[in-house]
């Protein structure tokens, strides 16, 4: 019987891999997700049958409650809130892995089964990473939703406290692995259980300490990294239970998160360590150092009627969307603008920077929601080659990803970051609420470029105004 179980888990792991493979094109992606879901169903049914879990009330109740909450969240979440949703789910996955490992400790103790050192190590990794993922995700969620200050938070002695927490967790873990029987019992709990609980508490603190110093602008990296952690936590739990389904799927997710993390870091030209050490990219971004250099210079302001004429008689228009578009919920009116210009035979494309928005691919999802065809969304490297032949660039709610300081100003914090070279286009229209600097807190030279005109106001309202003017032409 156990052999058959392993075969069934192998089927399930294969379905996950086939499903993920189909995510290589938007045309096959939906089916891919369904195949992966089928793989999950196989794993669940296999587990129920192999362990003869037929109808305990706890299992049915727990699954029903979880399914109802999951269904509700999946149906009601707004597409602009996807980063928060993914952060929350990462956290749940990590917590579930940690809890399973905790249950195993409890069970082994109650049954008086001695723990092998290797088993202890896997349990510890599972609890540690799972709990860090949980609390780290909660903090990331708070920062993304604005409930926690998006600025990098730090206090004196924070690094020391972090190191202390790591040392404490490792110490408790070492004691648990090497001398489980000699651990004193605490408050009626067996020694190993108390140690496991202590490690969980330290890991919870660690998760907070690791994410809180990281600025809101770097949250895409953090969410991708936590995604990776949630996979590693699941794989660790797989080692605890000797379960191949958990190990394979955990490894897949771990790899996926790590690849996304690397892509995000490359797109910002920063190392992962630099992101994790934090202190970069606050929410509110006061005009810091470079502010002085803008004194005495003026920006050119424009109005909807001029932009309407400019765009509707252009051959090629490129839209650069950014997080500001998401905040203003302007993706639907932007689509309307796209339709209107396309009808007038203007070639309209969207330039997507890898870190635009608050998570990898965030802009693509928002524009897909607004029914913009995905073949009109062009990656940075491809669109940069076309910008020279572009008549008008519309920068809607983006800032740092079009900041030429990344090329020209070695003192800028974003120096070296690959950007969309919009200054190569013939005209640049920047839709912006005010002259406030971007997420990275850096002033943008682009606004003072002679080819640039500023269209001030709420992104949604200004685009609506533009649409009205084009219709009136």
């Amino acid at each position: 019987m156990p052999n058959l179980t392993n075969i069934a888990y192998l089927v399930s792991a294969s379905l996950f891999i086939i499903g993920l493979r189909r995510l290589n094109s938007p045309a096959t992606a939906r089916r891919g997700n369904q195949i992966a879901a089928a793989g999950m169903l196989v794993a669940i049914v296999t587990t129920l049958l192999a362990n003869r879990i037929l109808s305990p009330l706890e299992v049915i109740g727990g699954a029903t409650v979880g399914a109802a909450i999951g269904l509700y969240l999946a149906r009601t979440v707004k597409m602009t809130a996807m980063p928060e949703m993914v952060a929350a789910f990462n956290g749940f996955g990590g917590a579930a892995s940690a809890l399973v490992a905790g249950a195993e400790v409890n069970n082994l103790l109650a049954e008086n089964i001695p723990m092998q050192p290797t088993e202890t190590v896997t349990i510890l990794i599972s609890i540690l990473i799972g709990t860090v993922t949980f609390t780290g995700s909660i903090v990331a969620l708070g920062k993304l939703s604005g409930r926690i200050n998006g600025n990098p938070v730090s206090f004196p002695g924070m690094r020391a406290l972090t190191l202390l927490a790591v040392a404490g967790a490792l110490g408790a873990g070492g004691a648990m692995a090497l001398a489980p029987t000699s651990l004193p019992s605490v408050a009626g709990m067996g020694g190993p259980l108390a140690a496991a609980l202590g490690i969980a508490l330290l890991a919870a603190l660690l998760g907070v300490l690791l994410v809180i110093p990281i600025g809101g602008a770097d949250m895409p990296v953090v969410v991708a990294l936590l995604n990776s952690y949630s996979g590693i936590a699941a794989a660790a739990t797989g080692f605890v239970l000797s379960n191949t389904a958990l190990i394979v799927s955990g490894a897949l997710v771990g790899a996926s998160g790590l690849i996304l993390t690397t892509i995000m870091c490359d797109a910002m030209n920063r190392s992962l360590l630099n992101v994790l050490l934090g202190g970069f990219g606050g929410d509110s971004g006061d005009a810091a150092g470079p502010a002085a250099s803008q004194e005495g210079r003026t920006v050119r302001q424009t109005h909807a009627d001029d932009v309407a004429i400019l765009t509707s008689y252009a051959d090629r228009v490129v839209v650069v969307p950014g997080y500001g578009m998401a905040v203003a919920q302007a993706q639907h009116v932007v689509r309307e603008l796209f339709d209107l210009l396309s009808k007038r035979d203007v070639d309209v494309k969207f330039a997507i920077h890898p870190v635009a928005g608050r998570m990898p691919g965030h802009m693509n999802v928002l524009l897909a929601e607004a029914n913009v065809p995905y073949d009109k969304l062009v990656d940075m490297d491809d669109i940069n080659a076309e910008l020279e032949n572009t008549d008008v660039v519309l920068v809607i709610g983006a800032n740092d990803v079009v900041n030429p300081a990344a090329h020209n100003d070695p003192s800028s914090p974003i120096y070296g970051m690959p950007i969309l070279n919009v200054e190569n286009a013939r005209n640049i229209i920047v839709f912006k609420r005010s002259m406030r600097p971007g997420y990275a807190g850096v002033q943008n030279e682009l606004f003072f470029n002679p080819k640039t005109q500023m269209l001030f106001g709420d992104a949604k309202e200004t685009v609506e105004g533009l649409i009205g003017e084009i219709k009136g032409l």
Binding site: L20, N24, P26, I53, E58, A235, T244, A245, L260
Partner: protein
């Protein structure tokens, strides 16, 4: 039951497969990739079922139930929201 070496071999090979498969996902689909792979990491539901359904110790079982609730949210919510996103990706 498989030994630790066998599990490690499986883990390492699966990591390589993961890197190969996921490197081919285009940037357009990175958000659905995150939420979809996130749903897959809800595989800890298997562990939660074993804990909640088979462990004799009552405390262990209830910890398992808590894990089951969280893992089910992750699995059900993750796959559904990914589906909701992917159905929006259309060519004209």
């Amino acid at each position: 039951m498989l030994g630790l070496e066998a599990l490690l071999i499986i883990f390492v090979l699966a990591c390589f497969v993961g890197v190969e498969v996921i490197s081919k996902v285009p940037a357009t689909l990175h958000t659905p990739l995150m939420s979809g792979s996130n749903a897959i990491s809800g595989i800890s539901i298997v562990g939660a079922l074993i804990a909640a359904g088979t462990m004799d110790n009552a405390a262990a079982r209830w910890i398992g139930v808590a894990a089951l609730v969280l893992a089910t949210i992750n699995v059900v919510g993750g796959f559904l929201v990914t589906d909701r996103m992917l159905q929006m990706f259309r060519k004209k």
